[in-house]
Amino acid sequence: MRLHLLCLVPIIISSFSIKAQNRVKFIGIESGASFIQCDHVNKSYIRGDMSTAYYGDGMSQGIKSEMYKIHLGATVEVRSLNDKFGFITGLRFTQLNTSVSKNTSPDYFFLLYQQTGTTTEYLRIRKIQQTATYAGVPIEVRFFPFPRLKKFRIYFMAGTEIGYELSSRTSVYFYDRTMESYKSGVLKIIGDHDHLYSVFYGGAGFRIGKEGRPGINLGVTAPVVFTNQNSSLVTPITGGGINIHFQIPLGTNRISQ
């Protein structure tokens, strides 16, 4: 993570250099969502669920893990002198949602609650869901390979984002609701997660709108790769998503040719 941040530092510095007043600048708001594929659930406290017919190396077939994130942010973009690169940063609020549930009937799985002497206790759980909100700083580079058309321009992007957790909540849905009093014990078993959030992503998109005028960027982000363990429930692999970015030009927007 440090390495790709170091690579981006010169680019960011150059974006705000003395000649920045000659560059095209935008402020904007953005929103988007990404869906992340997760690894098989392989937790020591969740009973496996796999038939003899399945000879894989995972722990579970019927227990599914899900992860998705949504974000909302405010951005600043500064274009390079030749107008081929855009450097974006800002403030981004990201909500990360992860869950573990059963996708086959019956709709519950067994969680190992405790073992004392010769007694072992399971709880039947329908779903465990974690929601965490982060405030982060995105650093994104956009490359515009083709000359500007009248109202349409394609771009490719790569970026990273580092965030810090503002809040988090874990919900446990018991099969037997009278077991709600065991929630605090279940939360201790699940454990804590990393309060920092870091992600690396690439993608492509297009901008609609005349240069120097307000415009909308529609992009696809893929792959989205997490560079730390954001959830104590699931292990993310990679994912993809969409991004909508509304921008308005800032200042006089003189374009250096």
């Binding site: 009973r47 669920d49 796999m50 038939s51 019956p106 190992l112 010769t118 072992t120 709880l123 077991m179």
Partner: protein, 198 residues
Amino acid sequence: MKNFTTSFILLITIFTSCSSDSELKKSVYIVDEQFPDLPQYSEWGYNTFGAYYDRQAFKSNDREVPIKVINQEGKTSFVFTGQKGSGYSYDNFTLTLTITDFNPLTYVDLLQLNNTTLDLTDSKYEIVIKDIENTYTTQIISGQFQITKAQNLLVDKKAEEVILSGKFDFQALVEGLPVTISNGRFDVGVGNGNFYKY
């Protein structure tokens, strides 16, 4: 009609209150990385067992009840039923361990076996092997049967079954020929459905 409805509701209530969780009866088969023909050793009540019978794998499958515990005439038998061989070439196979002087009244009494190692050369123990054609009483040369853990399983605070987990290895004479049962492991649940006393 009213009496019939009341009786029906009562019957359903009794049935559901006695039934155990069917999910616990399923087998959860996780491959052992070191011995890929066998299930991994576990202590979750995964309803699997496995061992090498000389060079062939003998293990549980989805069709047969992996274990039945039968108490009869002062003896308790642990009947492991599965298959010998793998792929498309396998035969039904049963290994029965019988213990004399052990008389559980219910499946819960199996907890007495927690952390117990049985020296199979002792005359109190008998091992019988059954394939699709014959039943063989073995003569144990050496070996032991270890019940590492016997656990009383509660699900949502209700007793469901007893989980027996352990390992076994032995050499025996079968029809006068020596065989080796090695790397044996089991993790099975015993409840009202597979405990018999008569």
